[in-house]
């Protein structure tokens, strides 16, 4: 009996002993995450690099080392070059639009008005829909024959024979180079704007009210307060929000895959879709991996820059 008690006591103190040793507890806490990431990100990542340096295809899965051949072959194709340019251009334009619109929306949503709850929900809807299904909704919206936008344009006399937008009865948004590119950017803005807006809204509401009152007493205008008081205060959060939507968009293939499949021709192709089409639908795993590998260092550089900028702000 006493033995049991004594055993229990020592066991308890042992347990306490372990949980009190911070380094050990820290390692124990960290271990599952590290194991998971090494097994399911680290190893596949190395395999992907191996693929990109080999001649592996869906048909012939043996890995023969070919050096940087895949990269040099891939880089030369016009599809890749266009994808690279598009990835940057689409992301850059969409992010600028998102930041501007999210600022306006955040200011508007910070006001008190009736029906705020429902307005907020309507604005959040795009984020609550699986992106593939949301994009299918847009696919209907931009349909070459049945687009409701075309119908509205016709109804107000902007589209159709003898009108401003031309003799055709349809805009064929996804069939023309510039309109297709604009469509891809619009859908990306549509789905990333809600989150950016609510994050900025939260940031604005967290600002100390006294600072703004003080600026108002000093006679600063609305715009001046917005750009010279509020924005600098929330800059770290703005950066993080930017980073988040940038990462989501940069690696995304769904919008282009559903909307245009990279077309017309390859004018809306981005790196993520081109890697998929080449590597999976085209069966050349090695070239697909080489294309996808281009994404990572680019994203890495951008992310480190933004994280550093946000950190510096925070310290100041």
């Amino acid at each position: 009996m006493e033995d049991v008690v004594a055993y229990k006591v020592t066991e308890r103190t042992n347990v306490r002993h372990i949980t009190d040793r911070e380094g050990l507890l820290g390692a124990l806490f960290l271990l599952p995450a590290v194991v998971y990431i090494i097994a399911l990100v680290g190893i596949p990542f190395l395999l992907a690099i191996a693929f990109s340096l080999s001649d592996v295809t869906v048909g012939d899965t043996s890995l023969d080392f070919v050096g940087l051949q895949n990269f040099s072959r891939v880089i030369k194709t016009p599809q890749f070059q266009r994808s690279l340019v598009n990835t940057f251009a689409f992301t850059l334009i969409a992010q600028v639009v998102i930041i501007v619109l999210a600022n306006i929306l955040a200011v508007v949503l910070a006001e008190d008005f009736r029906g705020k709850w429902i307005a907020r929900m309507l604005i959040m809807l795009p984020w609550a829909t699986p992106i593939a299904l949301g994009t299918i909704g847009w696919f209907w919206f931009l349909d070459s024959k049945f687009s409701p936008i075309d119908w509205v344009l016709q109804a107000v006399g902007l589209l159709g024979p003898g009108t401003l937008l031309g003799p055709g009865r349809h805009m064929v948004y996804l069939g023309r180079e510039w309109l297709a590119m604009a469509s891809v950017i619009t859908v990306q803005v549509w789905r990333l704007l809600p989150l950016a807006a609510v994050i900025l809204m939260a940031a604005f509401t967290s600002i100390d009210r006294d600072l703004i009152d003080q600026a108002e007493v000093d006679g600063a205008s609305f715009w001046r307060i917005h750009f010279q008081v509020k924005i600098p205060l929330i800059l770290p959060i703005l950066y993080i929000s930017l980073l988040f939507s940038l990462i989501t968009m940069f690696g995304d293939m769904v919008v282009v895959y559903v909307l245009t499949r990279g077309g017309p021709v390859y004018y809306t192709q981005v790196l993520a879709t081109w890697a998929y089409f080449k590597g999976i639908e085209g069966g050349s795993l090695s070239e697909g991996a080489a294309i996808a590998l281009f994404l990572f260092p680019l994203l890495l550089a951008v992310a480190i820059l933004i994280l550093r900028a946000a950190r510096r702000m925070e310290i100041n």
Binding site: A27, F45, M121, W127, A128, I199, I247, G251, L299
Partner: protein, 281 residues
Amino acid sequence: MGTKRKGVNRIITYILLISFCLFSACPFLVMVINTFKQDLDLYRPQNNPFIYNEPPTLDHLRLLFFETNYTTFMWNSFVVGMLVVIITLVIAVPAAYSLARLVGRWGEQAGIGMFLVYLVPPTLLFIPLFRMVVAFGLNDSFWALVLVYPTISIPFSTWLLMGFFKSIPRDLEEAAMVDGHSRFMAFVKVVMPLSLSGVIAVVVFTFTLTLHEFIYALAFVSSSAQRTLSVGVPIELIRGDVFFWQSLLAAAVLIAIPVGIVYNFFLDRLVEGFTAGAVKG
């Protein structure tokens, strides 16, 4: 002067608000309308797309619910989402606390390293991951997704929660430890209750991620009964060149509205968690 200006501001606010709501919600409005449209009505370009030119019909909802696996997809998405949320919390919460408090100076670097893992694009990983999934015998089942999705959610969640834990004053845990609690109990009893917003942010982000994810879901699961919404719906309702438009759009809006409402309830906590975590990380 003052009241007049306020009135003008109010009008501008409303105009902006309505424009934004239209931009966000218009596709959904058309989805709702189209759900009940007869083919005769829908496929005539001169018809007004915003009203019913022919009597509405329930046929397309019937098709969606009784002739496709839609309800199965919903259930699969829900189960996958919940399992991934649980796995993510179980692994990311301790890891984040460890990086924030226990491992000392290099926790910071490790946290940023964690975030960088989040940058590795799925397009790069999914070819090798596919081989691993096959090796585990999980291909053709949604368990493949349960296994793989945490690779995206754990790095991000760990980074976010790490920032969140750092924003909690150390004194609180130290006081608990002085009172005789172990470090572990101080974490459970003092830190966790204060971290609800961070945990909610992680739950919502992880769930959203599983709901949106497309590439892995497309590549790893090929039997219909195991698919999730984002892939199952388009595959069942786009057959070759034939789009079952009304049912497709209904499938999208029937997910968007309930999920949108639930998110709206958690929105303030979510955003609080996100901003607190992100800035300190």
